[in-house]
């Protein structure tokens, strides 16, 4: 008796987003489940965790934000090797406002989101005009140089950094702020990229001359995307600062660059859900592997290479395909 593998595509009707011909409860569930999963997971169940894991999940959320910000930049063809630039700037802006002007976190975080986004956009605006690897080069160099600038000139607290900053009003508040931010970013970015605006963004990445000939100022759009990505990254930095009650040089360090990229690539770039998934796999994993010390970064590096070279699709795309398809063995005579 022979068997062959049969593959059925489930719910093409339910999936094609323009046609809302939902006929049964099952179909609705089928569509809603993947969207409800992160919401329920983050907002309802996770608070039940112990304090230790909650803490880890908060830093996971910060990395997830950085990873989604990275993904946003990728969607317009900009590869950033320096997410720590966004993190560090956001962190220092929030830290300075809190330290020097005594603004409470409720003000510093929004201010750092906007200001940080603007500062980073201004820094990187000239490079956005160039194609290819220039953006990667500059984003890699800038945070590391800023780090040494802080160290050398002893501005903003120098090597000690700004310490004793105000914490969040409570751990649960911090938790909900972060998870809400993750969800808003996830669904907001996905929505944006699904709209006509997203079509333009992807068009710029795909063939910039076509978009230019359509009467669209591609540099302006790239600047907008850069600002969006940088603000989300700065927001992550501002939150991280108030969580740690500290803003300092580690904010510019490579950890905040390599981890989000690895998360995004492992999860699957271009979907925002992929980077989120990647962060929720890699960060807790690295927490478990804490004893390994420097070896963790080795793992990120190796993961990054393997996924870029062998599995460029990422985990999320794979899961999505499997979710929509049913595979089974059937008998053939």
């Amino acid at each position: 008796m022979k068997k062959r593998k049969e593959r059925i595509d489930r719910g093409i009707k339910a999936r094609s987003e323009d046609v809302f011909a939902l006929s049964s409860f099952r179909e609705m569930l089928y569509l809603l489940a993947p969207r409800a999963l992160p919401v329920l997971g983050l907002l309802v169940f996770a608070p039940l965790l112990g304090a230790y894991w909650r803490e880890i999940l908060m830093s996971t959320a910060i990395y997830a934000l950085l990873a989604m910000s990275w993904d946003m930049l990728v969607s317009v063809g900009l590869i950033s090797l320096g997410q720590s630039l966004f993190y560090g700037i956001g962190s220092y802006v929030a830290g300075s406002l809190n330290h020097y002007l005594s603004w409470p976190p409720i003000l510093t975080i929004p201010a750092a989101t906007v200001l940080g986004g603007l500062i980073c956009t201004l820094f990187l605006l000239p490079v956005v005009r160039l194609r290819g690897i220039y953006f990667a080069m500059v984003t890699l160099v800038l945070p590391l140089m800023l780090l040494r600038l802080v160290e050398a000139t002893r501005i903003l607290g120098g090597t000690e950094g700004l310490t004793g900053l105000d914490p969040f009003p409570g751990q649960l508040t911090a938790w909900y702020v972060l998870q809400a931010a993750v969800l808003v970013t996830l669904f907001g970015f996905r929505r944006l990229m699904g709209s006509d605006y997203g079509l333009i963004i992807k068009g710029i990445d795909d063939s910039d001359r076509s978009v230019m000939s359509a009467g669209i100022n591609i540099h302006w759009y790239k600047a907008q995307v850069l600002f969006l990505g940088a603000s989300v990254g700065s927001f992550a930095g501002a939150c991280g600062t108030h969580l740690d009650m500290f803003a300092g040089m580690p904010g510019f360090a490579l950890d905040y660059s390599i981890m989000p990229i690895a998360a995004a690539v492992v999860g699957g770039a271009g979907t925002f859900a992929g980077p989120l998934l990647g962060a929720f796999i890699l960060v807790p994993l690295s927490e478990i592997l804490r004893a390994l010390g420097a070896l963790r970064i080795v793992f990120y590096g190796v993961f990054l290479v393997i996924f870029v070279v062998v599995l460029p699709e990422g985990i999320f795309h794979y899961c999505r395909r499997k979710y929509h398809q049913i595979e089974r063995w059937v008998e053939v005579e």
Partner: protein, 290 residues
């Protein structure tokens, strides 16, 4: 003081040029940006150290072996990783970045940290130059930088292989129709660039210790010089090295040493706003010829 600044500025420039040459050359020949460059640099330093101190191999042989092995590492990287993502420049960037990161942190994990990791100088002693004293190692650095630059210029502009490289860099598809094997050249470019990184490491590392941070530092410096000079241009690299090198030395001597880092930052900021593709860069703004 002034004469000293001039001399040390020159040596500083030579160091910068040496550090960035390999990265630039690989990119200039095959369009591959090797972000594992810093890792190759410290790899060759540690390799030479291990050969000399753990295995007792004589200096010259260790040095040659380190340079040779670095070249091989370049080839290996090309055939194992880069070739699979060739042409997808963003994947190339991330893959080489990941490799570099992994290698450097691996050294940290195996505890290659400390003052004992130093390479010996080539010859001891120093030279007086009016009232300025410079050690022979620094003279050697300057000499090697000058020779290598000359060699690379002649090689890429006046030999057949070099011209083939430039043809590939300019238009891969046309070059292919003339029977030039782009993979062999890509591998060669990686080997060449990595070997240059090793040469730089062998002559520059004796001035300090071999440290993992040094790898990152080298990558930053190489990138900074390339950004200012313009990626892929040998002349640009030289001009940028001299500019940044002298500016740093002058700042260090006449202002304060800790302002040095500011010089590179300002140079990058100014160049990026005035001419984003670098002083001698020809980076296209548009995706393709239309």
């Amino acid at each position: 003081m002034f004469l000293g600044t001039i001399v040390y500025g020159f040596i500083n420039s030579a160091i910068l040029a040496l550090l960035s040459m390999g990265f630039n050359l690989t990119f200039g020949i095959s369009g591959v940006a090797n972000f594992a460059y810093g890792a190759v640099y410290i790899f060759s330093g540690f390799l030479a150290w291990i050969l000399m101190h753990s295995w007792g191999v004589p200096y010259f042989i260790s040095v040659l072996a380190a340079i040779f092995c670095s070249g091989c590492v370049g080839i290996l990287m090309y055939y194992v990783v880069i070739i699979r993502v060739k042409g997808l420049s963003l994947s190339e960037v991330m893959a080489t970045f990941g490799i570099g990161m992994a290698v450097m942190e691996l050294f940290r994990y195996f505890d290659f940290v400390g003052f004992r990791y130093t390479l010996p100088v080539f010859v001891d002693g120093s030279l007086s130059f009016g009232e300025v004293y410079i050690d022979y190692q620094r003279v050697l650095i300057a000499l090697i930088a000058v020779c290598l630059t000359g060699f690379i210029y002649v090689f890429t502009h006046h030999t057949r292989v070099g011209l083939a490289f430039r043809a590939i860099a300019q238009d891969e598809r046309t070059a292919l129709t003339f029977g030039i094997d782009s993979d062999r050249i890509g591998a060669f470019s990686m080997a060449f660039g990595s070997a240059l990184a090793a040469v730089a490491a062998i002559v520059i590392l004796p001035l300090g210790t071999i440290a993992v941070e040094g790898g990152y530092e080298v990558l930053i410096n190489a990138l900074a010089v390339c950004i200012v000079g313009g990626l892929g241009s040998t002349v640009g690299i030289l001009v940028a090295s001299v500019l940044i090198g002298y500016a740093q030395t002058f700042t260090a001597n006449y202002l304060e040493p800790h302002w040095m880092i500011l010089v590179s930052l300002i140079a990058i900021a100014v160049v990026l706003t005035v001419k984003p593709s670098g002083l001698f860069g020809r980076q296209k703004e548009l995706e393709e010829r239309i």
